[in-house]
């Protein structure tokens, strides 16, 4: 166990963080300007960290590959952010948010981390409001809330369907203020390509200036990786095109353990795939499940007729519809957690009842017609009209939908050319979020001293499945309220270190590694584009390391990925040169890392002989097709240690998960 010290403090769960914080070492204000910190990534986790550290007086350098820190993919989060404020007086509390998150994660997350997350959740909302984040409000001027999957309370704060945007712009404004004050130096269009370690500690990074191609050395006393998740290993996902695993993977190769890579969240409500030239998938916020009912036809013939365009779904009688989530999970219904809802959709499509006319027929309906009736009636009554005509009801119901979800409906219509007010939406699960990530201890420090990892890039808070509206919460909790304390504790021992020089031989070595890698790609003179390989990678991952996994498929995937890697190295063609803006080169460097990560994901999925959360091993299910966890043998975090170029040499370490405060139980949403 010595290699995996989670550093969880002693004490009662509700006191751990408070007591721990009170005893952390501090860096005095006059010493902070002597300390340099690098932050890689400017999404919620990175921007909030960089801004907060700048405010404290540290010297911060922040990096993003986009043209502005405001573009980071947190911006695309639609639905909301959870916080245990109990403004709705529905019995919410820190404990309940903690409990829901642990249960939602299928008992595969660390209690202490999750409790801390729930504790600071309220502060996040206060902080964001103080920054001028325009959350949705009620007529009385107070903040509005909605519910999300996997909970029975209303604790989700939101800003229409653009909550991530508003929170990120809030963090970006705080970051911008520090940039303006000269406390954060911002490097846009820069990509971290390696980490530099001196005497075992993280001391800097090698970054490529994406405009000039220049390879730069940046030194610091600590490095924070906030580079997001690795969903793009599937090629098609809801991630942004540039989202990648490179920063996380490079530190893994230099000694940071990678935890639970097989835990991937497949989001149940995305727009189905339309064709082979498709580059990405679009999410329809889970909040729509508050109002929409999910169904497929009961009869295969009806599904076929719908696909062929011969049957209008509205004409299918109530009795011939299968509202399968309501049927299987009556108490949570359409708000069942994401992993469960996704699998249920796959199941009905595997039975031949999918309704989308694409290559795979994969799609289910998300139907708003009942809600139009309900809300239309309510709205009529509220206006004093107690005898509304059906037309009036429908018009008012649509009006209500428009106010609540207008932007999402418009987005859907732009993409699909279908009008969701008139005909049910078609949705299907797509890769959305990765719970796995770099292993960190309670301080968010990786197994490389001085290298901290925050937000989606780490593994820490969501176990095997993340609940909706919890990603934004975690990103901001890490950056605003956790890291500033824990990193200071580490840096307290660095105040006498002095400036780190980029002339150290370790910088040379790292820079050479990067330059050689780039040179191989540019000089490769292969025959196939990077995308060709990326698509191939995506297919292997989706088919064999996707929503349903089994031993045979995983072994095949491992073999196929090894072949793919060899083929990629031999045949990839990267046009252009290294000393200019070269998007193909950027992509090649990212895909190389994604392929290796894919191999580790398959290995991790293979060793985990159980089903939990987003990891569904077909061999481990009960008679009703629900996941079968094996708490006796698999109640641990898998943390992989890199051992040289052959991925099969990676060593698995196990961090045992102890549940002291929550009784571990089967996860039941029925």
């Amino acid at each position: 166990m010595s290699k995996l010290d989670s550093k969880i403090p002693e004490g009662h769960i509700s006191q751990k963080w408070t007591d721990y914080k009170d005893h952390l070492k501090l860096v005095a204000p006059n010493n902070r300007p002597k300390i340099d910190i690098i932050v890689v990534g400017t999404g919620l986790a990175g921007s909030s960290a960089a801004a907060s550290l700048g405010e404290m007086g540290y010297n911060v350098k922040a990096f993003c590959f986009q043209d502005s820190p405001r573009r980071a993919h947190s911006i695309a989060a639609q639905g909301g952010i959870n916080a245990a404020k109990n403004y709705q007086n529905d019995g919410d509390s820190i404990f309940r948010l903690f409990y829901d998150t642990i249960k939602g994660g299928d008992y595969r997350a660390r209690e202490a981390n999750v409790h801390r997350l729930a504790e600071v959740s309220g502060n996040i909302i206060d902080q964001c409001v103080a920054q001028g984040v325009p959350f949705a409000r009620e007529y009385g001027g107070l903040l509005d809330n909605r519910s999300f999957g996997g909970t029975q309370v209303q604790r989700t704060f939101y800003a229409a369907g653009q909550t991530g945007q508003q929170l990120l712009l809030g963090a970006y404004s705080a970051l911008s203020r520090q940039i303006g004050l000269g406390r954060v130096k911002m490097y846009n269009r820069h990509e971290m390509l390696d980490i530099v370690k001196i005497d075992g500690k993280a001391r800097g990074i090698i970054a490529r200036n994406l405009v000039t191609g220049e390879i730069e050395r940046h030194a610091a006393h600590a490095v924070v990786i906030a580079s997001g998740g690795y969903g793009n290993v599937y090629f098609l996902s809801t991630n942004a095109m540039g989202s990648n695993v490179t920063a996380a993977w490079k530190i893994h190769k230099q000694g940071a353990f990678f935890a639970n890579p097989c835990y991937v969240q497949i989001h149940p409500t995305c727009i189905p795939v339309h064709g082979t030239n498709q580059a990405k998938l679009t999410l329809m916020s889970e909040s729509l499940r508050n109002s929409g009912r999910i169904w497929v036809p009961k009869k295969k013939e009806d599904a076929e007729a719908v696909r062929a365009g011969k049957l209008n779904p509205a004409e299918i009688a109530e009795d011939d519809r299968d509202y399968y989530l309501e049927r299987k999970y009556p108490s949570f219904g359409n708000l069942a957690p994401r992993d469960i809802s996704s699998r249920a959709a796959k199941e009905v499509c595997d039975e031949g009842r999918g309704i989308e006319s694409n290559d795979t027929n994969e799609g289910v309906f998300l139907d708003f017609s009942s809600e139009i009736q309900n809300k239309g009636k309510q709205a009529a009554y509220a206006k004093g009209n107690h005898n509304p005509t059906p037309e009036e009801i429908t018009a008012l119901g649509k009006q209500w939908l428009k106010e609540k979800y207008g932007n999402l409906f418009t987005m859907y219509q732009k993409i699909t050319d279908e009008n969701p007010y008139e005909t049910p939406m078609k949705i299907y699960p797509a890769v959305h979020y990765t719970m796995g990530g770099v292993w960190v201890d309670y301080n968010l420090q990786s197994s490389i001293p001085g290298c901290f990892v925050t937000g989606e890039a780490n593994f820490s808070d969501h176990g095997a499945n993340r609940l909706g509206a919890s990603a934004l919460m975690q990103g901001l909790a890490d950056g605003y309220f956790v890291l500033p304390y824990t990193i200071s504790n580490y840096l307290a021992d660095e105040i006498r270190t002095g400036k780190i020089s980029t002339d150290a031989p370790e910088f040379n070595e790292a820079e050479t590694r990067v330059k050689e890698l780039i040179a191989t790609f540019i000089g490769n003179n292969g025959v196939k584009s990077v995308d060709y390989f990326h698509k191939k990678l995506g297919l292997i991952m989706w088919n064999k390391v996707g929503m349903g996994r089994n031993e045979k498929g995983l072994n095949e995937a491992i073999a196929e990925l090894a072949e793919l890697k060899a083929e990629f190295n031999k045949d990839v063609y990267v046009p252009g040169s290294a000393d200019e803006l070269n998007p193909q080169l950027e992509k090649a460097l990212r895909v190389a890392d994604l392929i290796e990560l894919g191999q580790l994901m398959a290995m991790d999925a293979l060793q985990r002989n159980e089903s939990c959360g987003g990891h569904f091993r077909e061999e481990y299910q009960d008679a009703e097709g629900e996941t079968l966890r094996d708490d006796k043998n698999f109640s641990f975090v898998s943390a992989w240690e890199h051992k040289g170029e052959n991925i099969n040499d990676e060593v698995l370490h196990k961090e045992e998960l102890k549940y002291e405060f929550i009784k571990i139980a089967a996860r039941n949403y029925k």
């Binding site: 801004a51 907060s52 405010e55 986009q66 043209d67 502005s68 820190p69 405001r70 573009r71 993919h73 911006i75 695309a76 404020k85 502060n123 902080q127 103080a130 920054q131 001028g132 984040v133 325009p134 949705a136 409000r137 009620e138 007529y139 001027g141 107070l142 903040l143 229409a160 945007q165 508003q166 911008s176 940039i179 911002m186 846009n188 405009v211 942004a240 064709g275 030239n277 498709q278 580059a279 990405k280 365009g309 006319s357 418009t410 987005m411 732009k414 993409i415 699909t416 050319d417 279908e418 605003y480 584009s529 995308d531 063609y573 046009p575 252009g576 200019e580 803006l581 998007p583 193909q584």
Partner: protein, 254 residues
């Protein structure tokens, strides 16, 4: 979704880097699905160029769902192309006819220099934000409770509408004066409408406007082209509100 395929002629701005002159090049691209997004069509073109061992076209993009503000093409003389209220990444090929000729250019503005092909440098927007687009509140666990200050729903909603700006720069690209007033007006308005933003209102508007002028954006002559092309429906009202804020600030600053 019933797919159809079309063939298109593309006239694309190619420019090696900031220091060389660019020109329009012509490409033919066949069997483009009408369900493809405009950028998926660009991917397809790049794939074709790579297979012919020509250099692919550089363009900015990231989220591909109309929210990050990174995509930025000037298509057939319109910022973000012929559809209304969408970004380039949300524009679909069903908006084009079979055999259509499509002109694709970068944003053109002195304040947005071309980096390569269709990629421009919009860091001027970041610097305007750094000049005053924030509330000076440090991170702490001790700010007042989020519900301590009720905000009228109408104000909150308007602030949100202004805050929905994605910083894409289409307003600048479509303005004959290259004015950034819609972008700056939206930011100023967001804070002006909220109690949290009022304390620093004077300095904010003065500093942001000064920075905007230093960056070389032109003046606003109320042509309204920006509002028409803005993918997020940011209203001209925000420019008016900024002007009022500015006048107020000038008076109090003196």
């Amino acid at each position: 979704m019933a797919s159809k395929y079309i063939n298109v002629n593309l006239k694309v701005w190619r420019q090696k880097n900031a220091n060389t002159k660019g020109k329009m090049e012509t490409y033919k691209l066949d069997t483009v699905s009408t369900d493809s997004s405009f950028l998926e069509m660009m991917d397809q073109l790049n794939e074709q160029l790579i297979n012919e061992r020509q250099e692919p076209i550089a363009f900015d993009h990231d989220c591909r769902e109309g929210i990050c503000g990174m995509c930025s093409l000037y298509i057939n003389g319109r910022a973000h192309g012929p559809d209304n209220a969408v970004t380039t990444c949300q524009l679909h090929m069903r908006k084009f006819d079979d055999g259509a000729t499509i002109y694709i250019e970068p944003w053109r503005s002195k304040a947005f220099p071309v980096i390569k092909d269709l990629v421009v440098d919009r860091s001027a927007f970041d610097r305007i934000q750094q000049a005053g687009g924030f509330v000076s509140v440090n991170t702490s666990g001790n700010t007042i409770d989020a519900n301590a200050t009720p905000i009228p729903k109408a104000d909150a909603d308007k602030a949100f509408e202004a805050a929905a700006c994605i910083g894409c720069g289409a307003c600048v690209a479509s303005c004959k004066n290259s004015s950034a007033m819609l972008f700056v007006g939206a930011k100023v308005s967001q804070y002006a409408l909220l109690p949290q933003g009022k304390v620093e209102a004077t300095n904010r508007v003065l500093n942001m406007v000064r920075q905007m002028e230093e960056e070389g954006f032109g003046n606003c002559t109320n042509t309204g082209a920006c509002e028409v092309e803005c993918p997020k429906g940011i209203s001209l009202e925000n420019i008016a509100r900024m002007n009022r804020e500015f006048m107020k600030a000038m008076i109090t600053a003196e």
